[in-house]
């Protein structure tokens, strides 16, 4: 690769890296400043008196810890549910022909276009009638509506790239159908499951508009909503807020980091054949 190309490439990366990281670095540095110092003007990059107090506060406050735990529970549960459900659906579309197949697929994708916020009140009424208000189970279910259509689409495409012959060969060899499916299809679809899972997790983890209405009881609060309490009308606790933001970033970032390659490959095969 000629040097000019390399410089060009690295400069592009450097510029966007700066744009990407600048706000995050500010968040990170503020999280180590005591609340008072946080919005001192002129803004300082390095804290005068760096402190871990903010993190300690966020991680030891029972309400915040509960909300963190709730978020994890809802996101992991929701991811599992979403991937499983979408896998079944995607498999149906990939391997079967049935009446109304195309129409159904288009409808499912169309559902994706609904701005979820208009559903807040009817969802609330519905959940109230069923007694599921302020329950984590309701959150698990409602957060996933944002992403199930996309997951079905991705997994359907993914399954379609796996040759049917493999399953048929396994059946011929005498495996039980269940075993064949599980041991052949699933391992080969890991990248697909991975991308579906990560998308589900990210959408569920970041959800804010729904839980602030559907579950604002302290014991079922999710982390994003709990963080918002630092932004009150008269005062913003920047120190706590940024510490919380940093903590909120960790699960999704870690997930993305450790599974980057395989996740992207899942998308490679999952996105084609629109």
């Amino acid at each position: 690769m000629i040097p000019i190309e390399k410089t060009l490439i690295y400069s592009v990366i450097a510029v966007y890296l700066f744009i990407t990281l600048a706000p995050l670095i500010w968040v990170l540095s503020t999280s180590f400043k005591p609340n008072q110092e946080a919005i001192s003007f002129p803004p300082k990059l390095l804290p005068d008196a760096p402190t871990l107090d903010n993190y300690l506060f966020v991680l030891t406050d029972p309400k915040l810890v509960t909300s963190l735990f709730n978020s994890l529970l809802v996101s992991i549960g929701g991811t599992g549910l979403s991937v499983a459900v979408s896998a079944l659906g995607g498999y149906a579309f990939a391997r079967f022909e049935f009446k109304g197949k195309n129409l159904l697929m288009s409808t499912i994708l169309g559902l994706f276009m609904i701005p979820v916020v208009i559903n807040i009140i009817p969802l609330y009424i519905m959940l109230a009638n069923v007694g599921l208000l302020n329950s984590l189970l309701a959150l698990v279910l409602t957060f996933q509506i944002l992403i199930i259509p996309l997951n079905i689409f991705l997994l359907k495409n993914y399954f379609e790239t796996i040759p049917k012959e493999l399953e048929e060969a396994a059946l011929i060899d005498g495996c039980s159908k269940l075993r064949a499916l599980w041991h052949i299809i699933v391992p080969m679809s890991m990248p697909g499951f991975l991308i579906a899972g990560i998308l589900s997790f990210r959408f569920s983890w970041n959800e804010f508009v729904l839980p602030i209405v559907l579950s604002n009881k302290p014991d079922v609060m999710v982390f994003q909503v709990a963080l918002y309490q630092f932004i009150s009308l008269y005062r913003i606790d920047w120190g706590y807020l940024t510490a919380g933001i940093t903590i909120a970033l960790i699960p999704v970032v870690v997930l993305m980091l450790i599974s980057q390659k395989r996740m992207i490959r899942g998308l490679t095969l999952g996105a084609v054949r629109g």
Partner: protein, 302 residues
């Protein structure tokens, strides 16, 4: 479990497999939507929700289409969505291609670039509101230090939409990066080798090999990010609440404010349906546009 693979024609299996997904979607998405359809045909607001709902047919929709504020919000949406999609796509494409080259640390960089997408919209909005603040923001401070004039990022009606587009780009471009990288992964490097042997420059291979092969990915990516930008409002709500002078009120924010700030639920529902309509039209246009392109390419090849 329902994973039996009997090949009985016309069996119920596919339907059974779809039951879990469909029940969630129907229960939590379609059902509430029905409620919205119902109230959009009636006169439901905060003051009438517990009382009588008068039937008004399509009046909410016609009122909406005649509302100058709604027209303005459509214009703003056009700018916001157009700018966001263009910027996100361009940046995403450049980064995806750049990171796909054989350079050291591309994985690490890609991982870093993804982080903005993992921050929630509300938090992003809040942080950027502070960064872009006229008097106390870091950005204007930096500009002043460099001897440049500060910009009224959030208080100048002509600038505010673009400020939001930038914030949206920061937040949403990573998705395009991942998506297009996935597309790039699907291209066999052998193809590039062959082109290079034939004497094609890198730029030529990009336009004549990469882009056409990426087409399916590009279409889906565009549809997704367009839709997400059309429906996006929490970022804007937090950063500007639609001001100044409605210069940053997109149709999605308009819908939100009508429903929840003014309690005009029917109007909000009607606006919501118009938004869905917009999404459908846009998605359809993308697909038609690219299909027409493919046909012209085929004709040229004949």
């Amino acid at each position: 479990m329902k994973l039996t693979l009997e090949a009985r024609a016309g069996s119920l299996q596919p339907y059974l497999l779809l039951v879990p997904a469909l029940s969630i979607l129907i229960g939590f998405l379609l059902f509430p939507l029905m409620w919205n359809i119902y109230i959009s045909m009636h006169n439901v607001s905060l003051t009438t929700i517990l009382g009588e709902w008068k039937y008004v047919g399509f009046k909410n929709f016609s009122n909406l289409l005649r509302d100058p504020d709604f027209h303005m919000s459509l214009q703003v949406s056009l700018l916001f969505v157009g700018g966001s999609v263009a910027l996100q796509f361009f940046v995403g494409m450049v980064l995806a291609v750049v990171l796909n080259q054989q350079i050291w640390g591309s994985n690490a960089f890609r991982a870093l670039f993804i982080i903005p997408w993992t921050v929630s919209a509300v938090i992003t909005g809040f942080s950027f509101k502070f960064i872009f603040s006229d008097s106390f923001g870091v950005l204007n401070y930096g500009l002043e230090q460099m001897g440049l004039n500060p910009v009224a990022w959030l208080s100048d009606p002509g600038v505010v939409v673009w400020t939001l587009v930038i914030a949206n780009m920061w937040h949403g471009a990573p998705f395009t990066v991942i998506f297009l990288t996935a597309g790039l992964f699907s291209i066999n490097p052998v193809v590039y080798e062959a082109a290079r042997i034939d004497g094609a420059t890198k730029i030529k291979s990009f336009f004549y090999i990469t882009l056409p092969l990426l087409k399916p990915f590009i279409i889906i990516n565009l549809i997704l990010i367009t839709m997400w930008s059309v429906n996006f409002f929490d970022l804007i709500l937090v950063m500007t609440n639609g001001g100044p002078l409605f210069a940053s009120t997109t149709s999605s924010l308009y819908m939100y404010r009508q429903a929840f700030e003014f309690g005009l639920l029917s109007k909000g529902a009607a606006a919501g349906f118009l938004l869905i309509g917009m999404n459908l039209v846009l998605a359809y246009s993308y697909i038609r546009l690219f299909r027409r392109q493919e046909r012209t390419v085929e004709i040229r090849q004949m």
